[in-house]
Amino acid sequence: MSAPSGRNVLSGVLLGLGVAAFVDEVVFHQLLHWHHFYDKSTPAIGLISDGLFHAFSWFATIAALFLFADLRRRGSFNRPLWWGGLLLGTGGFQLYDGTLQHKAMRLHQIRYDVDLAPYDWTWNIIAVLLIVAGTVLLVRARRRPA
């Protein structure tokens, strides 16, 4: 993969992570209050992983937008590659959150005091759909370079 196409995917993936984090913060924390700012049941490692993810997602969002501006000024922006990266980034993070963080490490859950099964399935199926859509875009973009 040449440098500009790598950068297109990278910019998309980073923005995808940022979007996933933003949705998590705004929709689940601020609007629905499904997540708590901090409940004492959260293990210490959960707090650290939360903090790291939070910091990285801020950085990823802004870096992705500057990378995007850089691609535009060089005239090497590639729309399908960028969108493919974005869907892959969003879905990839959501699947990691839904399987490893929620289930394997039990750091936190989507919401509390309800039957989790429908939430978990919805969350992870959406994640897989996003990953599939992103992969299809990337494969098609590489077969037929713009």
Binding site: F37, Y38, L47, I48, G51, L52, A55, W58, A63, L65
Partner: protein, 289 residues
């Protein structure tokens, strides 16, 4: 502890001296026929005002019994003031204002090994984050209100470590041996993560002597207020990369970050004059700062 007039007096004199020193430098540079951007001077004064608001006056008084007010002060002293002071480029000003021999001594000092170690992002992040960690997770926060000298020392450390950290990551002053952008990005992310983690743990485990409800408001303020300033830090960091990576720059020497003489201002340009591809030759008078 109610702040003694002596502590407030010492801190006020230090801040006033910093303001006078900087203004003298700017006047000296102009008298010599040089140029110093007004926005840098404004940034320096605003940074000192932010620090002053945290150290002396009604907010500082309230901070002694109100953790939320303390946290507003922390955001001003440890994050806002350092950012504004760093953007004011005091070392660049000093190098231009000082007599040549003194300026040379200063630049040798900046390049020396101890300064190099101290201003490394990792050292600066440990000093900055470690200090905060000690403050909120040990008895230090309580001790601060019993001893005036601990009070002053903690505040000076927060300001100095904040400055050191900000300068090591997004400094505009010359820094010999500044590490690469990857290192700085990694340290920035790690520090922001530590700040957010600390804010959340203060929420759950208030420092001794702070009521839980007060600690929660303060912790949320630390977390979300920290986020706002972090966004500015990350934005400035990425913009520096964006400007340095400009393909149009490749064939000409990088312009100094702060011009010695006032660069001609381009007030407006026709759309056709904007370099779309970045490969077109640019007019030489683009303002880079």
């Amino acid at each position: 502890m109610e702040p003694t007039p002596a502590t407030s007096g010492v801190l006020s004199v230090l801040l006033l001296a910093a303001a006078l020193g900087y203004l003298t430098g700017a006047v000296v540079v102009r008298r010599r026929g040089g140029w110093w951007p007004a926005e840098r001077t404004i940034s320096w004064i605003a940074g000192l005002v932010a620090a002053m608001a945290a150290l002396v006056g009604p907010l500082a008084d309230a901070a002694h019994h109100d953790f939320t007010a303390h946290m507003v002060g922390h955001l001003l002293l440890g994050m806002t003031a350092p950012l504004l002071l760093v953007l004011a480029a005091p070392l660049t000003l000093a190098l231009r204002a000082l007599p040549v021999a003194r300026a040379r001594t200063l630049s040798h000092l900046l390049a020396s090994r101890p300064v190099r170690t101290l201003t490394h992002p990792v050292t600066a992040a440990v000093l900055n984050g470690g200090g905060l960690w000690l403050l909120y997770t040990t008895g230090l926060y309580g001790a601060m209100s019993d001893h005036a000298w601990i009070h002053v020392a903690v505040h000076l450390h927060v300001l100095a470590a904040g400055y050191l950290f900000t300068a090591s990551v997004i400094g505009v002053d010359p820094a010999p041996h500044r590490p690469g952008r990857r290192t700085r990005a990694a340290v920035l992310i790690a520090f922001l993560a530590a700040h957010a983690t600390l804010a959340k743990s203060v929420y759950g485990h208030p420092p001794a002597g702070v009521l839980p409800a007060d600690a929660r408001t303060g912790a949320e303020l630390m977390y979300y207020g920290g986020d706002l300033i972090d966004l500015v830090l990350i934005y400035l960091f990425c913009r520096q990369w964006f400007q340095a990576a400009d393909p149009a720059r490749r064939n000409r020497p990088a312009a100094p970050r702060i011009h010695a003489v006032r660069p001609p201002r381009v007030l407006w340009r026709l759309p056709a004059e904007f370099p779309l591809e970045g490969h077109n030759a640019r007019d030489g008078n683009r303002v880079s700062n």
